[in-house]
C-alpha cells in the first residue's frame, strides 16, 4: 500500500491543495463508504473525479454520457491496469490507463475520442495518492486530446486488492475510406519498422520494484501514439499492421503478427534500437530486452515502397526520432520469427511463455 503523498505533474496538485468544501479531508484514506453509493461516494465523484476530468458529458452525471461521434467506423477497446508501484520513473498508473487505451485505438488507425474509467480501490489507499493518479490521468487525457466522459468507483476491503486497479475503455473513429489495418494484413515483401528503442518501460518499472530497486536513469516511454500513427496513415493500403509491443515485448508482437498473417518475419538484430542502460540492466537480470514491455513504441508492417516514407515521417516526429527499419516479411516459414545475429548467424525468436523470469546466474 502506497503511504506517502506523491507529487503530481509539475509538483501538484496534492491533497492539501484541493479546492471544494472539505469533506474529503475528513478521510485521508479511502474507506469502504467511498464505494458504497452514498454521500461519501458522491463527494469523491464531485470533488475529485469531476473537477479533474471536467467536460460537459461527465459534468451531467447521468447514468450514461451522451457524446457526439463523427462519421466513420467506431473503434472500441478496453484494458485493465495493475502496475506496481503506482508511480514509477517517467509515469504512473494514471498515464498508463489513458495512453494504453488510446494506443490500442490508434493501432487500428482510429482517432481516439472518449474514454471511460473504472477504479477498483483498496480500502486504506491514501487520498493524496488517488488524487495524484487522477490528476495525472487528467493531464494525460488532455495531452492526448481525449475526454474521460464516464466512470465507476468500487472500494474493496483492505487485503482484497493491490492499492488501485484502473480499467479504461476507449472509443475512437476510423475514417470510412481507410483500408483495414490489423495483425493479419502483413504480406511477403513488406518491411517491418520500429518507432524507437525497446525495453525502457519494463526496466523503468523493475528499477523501482520493492524486490529489485537498482539505480538507473531509464524512464518509461509511456506516451500516446495516435500522433505518431496519424502522420503515416494513408488510404492507399500500404500500412498493413500497427501494433504497440506492450506485455511480451517486441518478441511477442512479432510472433503475433507472423502467426496472424501466416508469414515469416526476419529481423536484423543489429538494427533493433536498445539503449545501453536497458541492455545492461537486462544482462544483469538475465532478461531478454525483446521480451520486456514498452508503453510508447509502435511496430509497423508496411509495403516495401512505403518504408522510406514512413521512416522519414517517424524520424521527424518527437516520438519516433530513433525509428528504424528492422526487418522484412517473408513467404517461407509461416508463423516463425527469426533474427540475424551480429555474428551473422540466424536464430528463432520464440514467443515468450508468460511471466518474465530472471535467470539464476
Amino acid at each position: 500500500m502506497a503511504e506517502t503523498a506523491l507529487p503530481g505533474p509539475g509538483g501538484g496538485p496534492d491533497f492539501e491543495s484541493w479546492a471544494c468544501p472539505l469533506p474529503l479531508r475528513d478521510y485521508p484514506r479511502v474507506v469502504l463508504g467511498h464505494g458504497g453509493g452514498g454521500a461519501l461516494s458522491e463527494e469523491l465523484v464531485r470533488h475529485l473525479f469531476v473537477p479533474a476530468f471536467g467536460n460537459p458529458a461527465l459534468d451531467a452525471l447521468g447514468d450514461a454520457s451522451l457524446v457526439d461521434v463523427p462519421a466513420g467506423r467506431l473503434a472500441l477497446s478496453t484494458d485493465g491496469f495493475v502496475v506496481r508501484p503506482l508511480v514509477f520513473p517517467g509515469g504512473s498508473i494514471g498515464e498508463l490507463a489513458v495512453n494504453g487505451t488510446v494506443n490500442d485505438l490508434a493501432m487500428r488507425g482510429a482517432t481516439p475520442l472518449y474514454l471511460t474509467a473504472g477504479f477498483v480501490i483498496e480500502e486504506g489507499l491514501a487520498m493524496s495518492v488517488l488524487g495524484t493518479v487522477v490528476a495525472r490521468m487528467a493531464a494525460a487525457a488532455a495531452a492526448a486530446g481525449v475526454q474521460i466522459v464516464a466512470g465507476d468507483t468500487k472500494v474493496v476491503e483492505r487485503g482484497h486488492g493491490d492499492s488501485l486497479y484502473v480499467t479504461t475503455t476507449g472509443v475512437g473513429v476510423v475514417p470510412s475510406g481507410l483500408p483495414p489495418i490489423g495483425p493479419a494484413q502483413a504480406r511477403p515483401g513488406d518491411k517491418v519498422l520500429l518507432s524507437g528503442s525497446i525495453g525502457d518501460h519494463g526496466i523503468a518499472v523493475m528499477s523501482v520494484r520493492e524486490s529489485l530497486a537498482f539505480e538507473t536513469a531509464i524512464v518509461s516511454d509511456c506516451a500516446a501514439l495516435h500522433g505518431l500513427v496519424g502522420c503515416i496513415l494513408h488510404d492507399d493500403g500500404r500500412i498493413r499492421v500497427l501494433r504497440d509491443p506492450t506485455r511480451g515485448g517486441l518478441a511477442a508482437t512479432l510472433n503475433e503478427i507472423a502467426t496472424a498473417s501466416a508469414v515469416g518475419i526476419v529481423i536484423d538484430e543489429r538494427r533493433v534500437p536498445v539503449k545501453p542502460e536497458v541492455r545492461g540492466a537486462c544482462d544483469l537480470l538475465g532478461l531478454d530486452p525483446w521480451h520486456v514491455a514498452n508503453e510508447g513504441k509502435c511496430v509497423a508492417v508496411v509495403a516495401a515502397d512505403a518504408a522510406a516514407e514512413v521512416l522519414a515521417a517517424w524520424r521527424a516526429h518527437p516520438l519516433g526520432r530513433d525509428a528504424a527499419i528492422i526487418g522484412e516479411v517473408e513467404a517461407g516459414r509461416p508463423g516463425l520469427v527469426a533474427t540475424r545475429t551480429s555474428l551473422g548467424a540466424t536464430r528463432v525468436v520464440p514467443m515468450p511463455l508468460g511471466e518474465l523470469l530472471p535467470r539464476i546466474c
Partner: protein, 368 residues
C-alpha cells in the same frame, strides 16, 4: 557499456571463427560446462559460424536443470505450508515437480516470492517474525557465497525464522564424472568463468592431468566463448592438456578468497544427487554442523520425500553429452517448454529448451 560491446563485435567474432577453421584438422567434441555459455552460444548463433569439425556439447552447468526432482518436491511441500514465505530465484518457479510447480503452489495460496538476493529473504524474515521464511539455495559455486553469507548474517542477527533448502553442486567433481562415464565423448572443456572467479583454478590442473583433457576457463560474451574454443582447439591439435585462463579479466588463480572463507565456514562438502545424472561423490555442499539449525529440510521434515523421474525423460544423457536434445523421442512432442518432462526443457539455459527455441534443428531453421 562500451566494455561489453567490444566482446560482442561481429567482425572480430568471425575473424576468431576463421582462425579456428584454419587450425582445425579433424573433428573435436568440446563441452561448455556452464548454462550461461550455452545461452551465449545459442543466442548469438556461435555454433553456426564454427567449422563443422567442432561439435559443442552442452554440459550440466545449468543449476535449474540439475536440481533433483525430489528437492523440487521438497520445496513444493514446504512452500505449500501455511505460515511459510518461500523465496526463490525466478527460474525455479516453473520447474515441474512430480505433480505441480511452485507457480501452482502460489496460485493455490502458498506465499511464494521471487527474490534477487538471499539477503532479501533474510530481511523478509526480520520483517515477518511470525512467519517462517525459507530460501531455496540452489546453484553452483557462483551463487553459494551469497547464500552462505545469508545464513551467516541470519545467525549473527538472531533471525531464527529463516532457513534454507540447500542443493548446491560443484563443477570439478562433475567434470570427473563426465570423463569417467562409459559413453563419454568430451575431449575438452570450457570451464565456467564465474565459478572460477569464486574458486580460482583450484582442482582443475589435477583434472586436466588425470584425464589428459584441455580445460579452458571461459567467459560468457561471444568473443569470450570463441576465444575459449580457439584455445581448446589449439591444445587438442597439439596433443596438449593444460588449464588455460581465457577469462583473466575476471578470474585469478586463487579466486575470491573472502568468498571461499565464507563458504568454508557455512558449508561442508557432501555427496549430491544431480537431476538426470545421479549421485556424484563429493559434488555438493550442505550446511555445516554449526549451521544445521538453518536447514529447511530438517526443520520441515521433508528429507524423506522420494520421487522418480519420468521414464520418458532422457535429460541425464543430454546433460552428459551422450544424447542431443533432438535425438530424444519425446523432444518437441510430449516434451516442450509448455509441457516439460525434465528441467533441461524448462530452464532458458537448458539444452533442450535452447534447441527448441532457437532452432538448432533443421526443421525450424529459417531460410534467411
Amino acid at each position: 557499456m562500451r566494455y561489453l560491446d567490444e566482446f560482442r563485435d561481429g567482425d572480430l567474432a568471425r575473424r576468431l571463427a576463421d582462425d579456428i577453421t584454419r587450425i582445425v584438422t579433424r573433428p573435436w567434441a568440446i563441452m561448455e560446462v556452464c548454462g550461461g555459455q550455452t545461452h551465449a552460444i545459442i543466442r548469438n548463433g556461435i555454433d553456426q559460424i564454427l567449422p563443422p569439425e567442432i561439435e559443442l556439447i552442452h554440459g550440466p552447468g545449468c543449476p535449474v536443470c540439475v536440481t533433483p526432482l525430489e528437492v523440487i518436491d521438497q520445496a513444493i511441500a514446504i512452500a505449500a505450508r501455511p505460515g511459510v514465505i518461500f523465496c526463490s530465484f525466478g527460474d525455479m518457479l516453473r520447474v515441474p515437480g512430480s505433480s505441480r510447480d511452485l507457480f501452482q503452489v502460489k496460485s493455490e495460496g502458498g506465499d511464494v516470492r521471487v527474490v534477487y538476493s538471499p539477503l532479501d529473504a533474510v530481511r523478509l524474515a526480520q520483517a515477518h517474525p511470525e512467519r517462517e521464511v525459507v530460501f531455496f539455495a540452489i546453484g553452483f559455486e557462483t551463487t553459494a557465497p551469497a547464500n552462505a553469507m545469508a545464513v551467516h548474517v541470519a545467525r549473527q542477527h538472531g533471525v531464527r525464522n529463516f532457513s534454507m533448502l540447500v542443493s548446491h553442486v560443484l563443477v570439478p567433481p562433475a567434470i570427473a564424472a563426465i570423463m569417467t562415464a562409459p559413453r563419454n565423448r568430451v575431449q575438452a572443456f570450457l570451464a565456467a568463468g564465474h565459478v572460477c572467479a569464486v574458486m580460482g583454478l583450484r582442482g582443475y590442473p589435477a583434472l586436466a592431468e588425470r584425464f589428459h583433457v584441455p580445460i579452458v576457463v571461459t567467459g560468457f560474451e561471444p568473443l569470450d566463448v570463441l576465444e575459449g574454443i580457439r584455445r581448446a582447439v589449439r591444445q587438442l591439435e597439439a596433443g596438449e592438456a593444460r588449464v588455460e585462463n581465457a577469462y583473466a579479466r575476471v578470474v585469478t588463480d586463487e579466486g575470491n578468497t573472502a568468498a571461499q572463507r565464507m563458504l568454508a565456514e557455512v558449508f561442508e562438502v557432501s555427496d549430491r544427487a544431480w537431476r538426470g545424472i545421479g549421485t556424484i561423490p563429493g559434488s555438493g555442499w550442505r550446511l555445516a554442523d554449526a549451521y544445521r539449525e538453518f536447514d529447511a529440510a530438517i526443520r520441515f521434515d521433508v528429507g524423506g520425500i522420494r520421487t522418480a523421474e519420468s521414464p520418458l525423460c532422457r535429460s541425464g544423457e543430454v546433460l552428459q553429452g551422450a544424447l542431443k536434445p533432438n535425438e530424444c523421442p519425446a523432444f518437441g512432442t510430449t516434451c516442450t517448454p509448455r509441457t516439460p518432462l525434465g528441467a533441461t526443457m524448462v530452464s532458458g539455459e537448458g539444452a533442450c529448451a535452447a534447441y527448441y527455441h532457437y532452432g538448432r534443428f533443421r526443421a525450424a531453421a529459417p531460410t534467411a
